[in-house]
């Protein structure tokens, strides 16, 4: 009886133990992503002010088209980082993907329908091996993927001598270099890819489980989530995405070399981290990763537009990354500073 009485008490009297007075329209984990989108916008606006020739519709499209590689690659990297891992074989797998699709199509469209699945499957297979190393053999992801990258680079080098001797299927080149209703296919592809990636990472049951495993591997084990299987799957998807990146890159450049993916490895990690994910896993929505990829692509364009020496370009690029990090973490936004910092500022306020 008494219990029932207690339950009948009006809600307002119950202690609110959690904060949300300020209830934003977006989840708090989306804030970094939005800030990075904003930073991207700032970059574009800043450049438009500085140089009037910058920022035309054509140029923005060009940025988006070339962002496709990083967008695709960073999704796989993001999934792996979500589990607290890392995929350092990504650059090599991109190269292998490109080489395979070139080698299998041999410059004709006929083999494309079998070449693409075969390429993707092989690249996913490399990811699978990474996943088995991390998920079942419990080897550290860093060293597992680094080693498998080196190993498969060697294998591919042995098979191909380092460069594709065949041109890529023309259909793939057409796809990467033309459009529909004025919109380049790569942009349409990016939109579809981002939607699918977002649905998978943030709306699907499997995505939810990946967050759970990344957030607390111990609890995931106790609860009986398929930790090993999902870990393997995440690495396999990372391999798949790298392979897809390789195919797109080969289509774009009309040819492939084994080392063409190495320039994407660091940016793929940076995109995920700048988007707000923690490398320890379990955090960061996909849109953050996408924002990070877009930001880095735009940044590289802006840097190109500045006619500096490479040294100065690097300094500006590194500096802007640091500023973006400060912005993303809210350190430059004085209204929302976190308590850890506030503590030190206000510690002396006791009088």
């Amino acid at each position: 009886m008494r219990m029932r009485k207690a339950r009948a008490l009006p809600r307002a009297k119950v202690v609110p133990e959690a904060p949300p007075v300020w209830r934003p329209a977006v989840g708090p984990d989306l804030v970094p992503a939005l800030l990075v989108f904003a930073a991207t916008g700032l970059l574009v606006v800043g450049m438009m002010l500085a140089s009037p020739s910058f920022g035309s519709f054509d140029q923005l499209t060009a940025i988006l088209v070339t962002a496709i590689f990083l967008v695709v690659a960073s999704f796989g990297q993001g999934l792996v980082i979500l589990l607290g891992g890392i995929d350092l074989s990504l650059g090599v797998v991109i190269g292998i993907g490109g080489m395979m699709v070139a080698g299998l199509t041999r410059g004709s469209n006929d083999a494309l329908m079998s070449a693409i699945p075969l390429t993707l499957l092989s690249c996913a297979g490399i990811g699978l091996i990474n996943g088995i190393g991390v998920g079942l053999a419990k080897l550290p992801p860093f060293i597992t993927t680094l080693s498998s990258g080196i190993t498969f680079f060697g294998v591919a080098l042995g098979i191909t001598a380092g460069s594709s001797q065949q041109p890529v299927a023309p259909a793939l080149q057409t796809f990467m270099n033309s459009g529909w209703l004025g919109l380049p296919y790569p942009i349409l592809f990016t939109v579809a890819f981002v939607a699918a990636a977002w649905l998978f990472q943030n709306r699907s049951a499997e995505g939810r489980k990946l967050y759970a495993i990344g957030s607390s591997p111990g609890a995931a084990r106790v609860l009986g989530l398929p930790v090993a299987a999902l870990t393997i799957a995440a690495y396999a998807i990372s391999g798949l995405c790298a392979g897809l990146t390789g195919i797109l890159l080969a289509g774009y450049a009309a040819s492939a070399t084994l080392d063409m993916g190495s320039a994407l490895l660091m940016p793929s990690i940076a995109a995920v981290v700048i988007g707000g994910a923690r490398v320890t896993g379990g955090s960061g929505p996909y849109l953050g990763t996408f924002a990070g990829a877009l930001f880095l692509s735009t940044l590289s364009t802006v840097i190109t537009a500045l006619s500096f020496s490479q040294g100065l370009r690097d300094i500006v690029q590194g500096g802007i990354i640091l500023i973006a990090l400060l912005l993303q973490s809210g350190r430059l936004n004085l209204r929302h500073h976190r308590w850890r910092w506030a503590h030190h500022q206000q510690g002396g306020g006791l009088t």
């Binding site: 904060p19 939810r208 609890a219 106790v222």
Partner: protein, 513 residues
């Protein structure tokens, strides 16, 4: 009240806000020399914040603190220590990768003339400190991470006492501690050294045994500050909860369905840390497990869901012998563990409460593998009433919830996962009084529906109050089994400490060898 003596610690109008939440709202109280003052309140009432403010972990927004009449503004732990304020934290502040000795002397372990930390010397010092505090069963060279939780708590407490503080803060010191008398004697000795102690606990009997006075916080505000003796239990509970609370244990009738096949039956279980354990749990039955720290209870619970390897023995679920090699297999059979380490093994801190609960059945709430939030919510709301988890918490990150509500969410998840047999390992640890009641109610409801519960608790009164039967573990084996009629804290304690009670069977003579 003793007006003449100046207070040792004066806490004046202290406020602390975290963002939009007010954790401490104009709290004032005093601590006299050589007094034990109880600090009570539900989780989230502000006790932990108060402890953190006093120990220098967080700075208050406004208000003053004085010790011996001088302003006290600790900015880091070291500042507080310098003013002889020392704390035994609830969440235990020991570094698992370091030895007991190093932990005892952090942050400034003794160094030799070369400026190096001398392992031999600090281990000798640590040995001495531990002995001075009546601890003989912990090696100073052991890594804290290798110790069971109860021993870690002992080290934490010894560390707080070893600083010879003027003000000692003990935050839930008995949460994992089985030997309360040891702590009480330390407290008595400290009082003789004129130490003032702020004692935070959910356990009313401890407050009554130790404290002359108690302060009750609710909602960040002080709601009561009075002599303990003058207060009835009911008055204390209702001050804490802001409403009256039902009787602690209501378990009038038993729900055991005799004749039905036992939900869980284990025979001759042997594995690391457990030695020939056999018992069965019938539908509708709550079987308690008692034991001092480290007697195999943790291994037993883990072995039942495949987390700890078994050498021999059989497990049967509803009469069918099964092999449980992983928690996943256990879950399919309806055996669900609510684990000991809530933070690392129970919670997915990155997820919302809703996602935490729905996780095991998330595929049921999905179409084409995409989560349908409405059906997820419907699923979750089938179990939240059973644990009385208010629905407004569902959207919040689970890390924003109090311990009690976190535990409710974990229990809700276990229910939703289709539990037939719940393995509850100390489910009420660090849970406030109100939430405890809800957990008890949920347990009763669960067995009423034909479920079975294996229930370990460090709090003997819970075992006595709730269980139909109680197994007492000693050195990895069942030292005795007590029927409901025989249950009392004294008998359990006697068995648990290796004294076989006269009327109980010796389940396994080899256990004492």
């Amino acid at each position: 009240m003793d007006v003449a003596a100046p207070p040792l610690l004066a806490f004046r109008s202290v406020c602390k806000r975290y963002g939009a939440t007010t954790a401490l709202d104009d709290v004032s109280f005093e601590l006299q020399p050589a007094e034990v003052c109880g600090l009570l309140g539900e989780n989230g009432a502000g006790k932990s914040t108060l402890v953190k403010v006093l120990s220098g972990v967080v700075a208050p927004d406004t208000g003053t603190i004085r010790i011996d009449g001088k302003p006290f503004l600790p900015r880091v732990i070291a500042d507080a220590r310098a003013r002889r304020v020392s704390t035994a934290f609830q969440e235990l502040s020991l570094v698992p990768a370091l030895s007991v000795a190093v932990n005892l002397f952090l942050p400034r372990p003794a160094i030799n003339r070369f400026g190096l930390v001398s392992t031999r010397r600090i281990e000798a010092d640590a040995e001495q400190v531990l002995q001075q505090h009546g601890v003989t069963d912990i090696s100073p060279s052991a890594l804290v991470g290798d110790l069971p939780l109860g021993m870690r708590q002992k080290v934490e407490i010894v560390r707080a006492f070893s600083h010879r503080p003027a003000v000692l803060l003990l935050d839930e010191p008995t949460a994992a501690l089985s030997d309360r008398q040891w702590l009480f004697s330390l407290i008595a000795r400290a009082l003789r050294d004129r130490t003032s102690i702020l004692y935070i606990s959910h356990k009313l009997d401890e407050i009554r045994a130790l404290c002359s006075r108690c302060v009750i916080l609710r909602n960040g505000r002080k709601v009561l500050d009075s002599e303990v003796a003058a207060l009835s239990d009911d008055a204390i509970f209702s001050s804490m909860a802001g409403r009256s609370v039902g009787e602690v244990f209501v378990r009038a009738s038993t729900e055991i369905r005799r004749g039905a096949k036992p939900v869980l039956e284990v025979t001759h279980l042997k594995g690391s840390g457990i030695d020939d354990i056999g018992f069965s749990v019938a539908p509708g039955e709550i079987v308690g497990v008692a034991g001092l720290e480290g007697q195999g209870q943790s291994r037993l619970f883990k072995a039942l869901v495949g987390l700890s390897p078994l050498q021999t023995g059989a497990i049967a679920i509803e009469g069918v012998t099964v092999a449980i090699r992983s928690p996943r297999a256990a879950r399919r059979l309806g055996v669900i563990l609510v684990p000991e380490e809530r933070k690392s093994e129970g919670l997915f801190t990155g997820l919302t409460t809703m996602a935490n609960i729905s996780l095991p059945v998330i595929n049921q709430a999905s179409r084409l593998h995409l989560v349908n939030q409405a059906s997820e919510r419907r699923l979750v709301e089938t179990v939240t009433p059973a644990v009385k988890l208010p629905e407004r918490y569902l959207r919040l990150s689970i890390s924003a919830l109090s311990g009690g509500n976190q535990q409710k969410a974990i229990l809700a998840r276990a229910l939703l996962a289709g539990a037939k047999c719940l393995l509850l390992f100390d489910p009420t640890r660090g849970v406030d009084v109100g939430a405890k009641q809800h957990i008890y109610a949920m347990m009763r409801g669960f067995v009423r529906g034909g479920g079975a519960i294996l229930f370990y608790s460090t709090e003997l009164d819970e075992l006595v109050g709730l269980c139909d039967r109680c197994l007492v573990l000693y050195r990895g084996a069942i030292a005795g089994e007590l029927a409901r009629a025989e249950l009392s804290q004294d008998v359990i304690l006697a068995l648990a400490s290796g004294h076989s009670g006269g009327r109980t069977r010796r389940a396994n003579p080899r256990a004492h060898a």
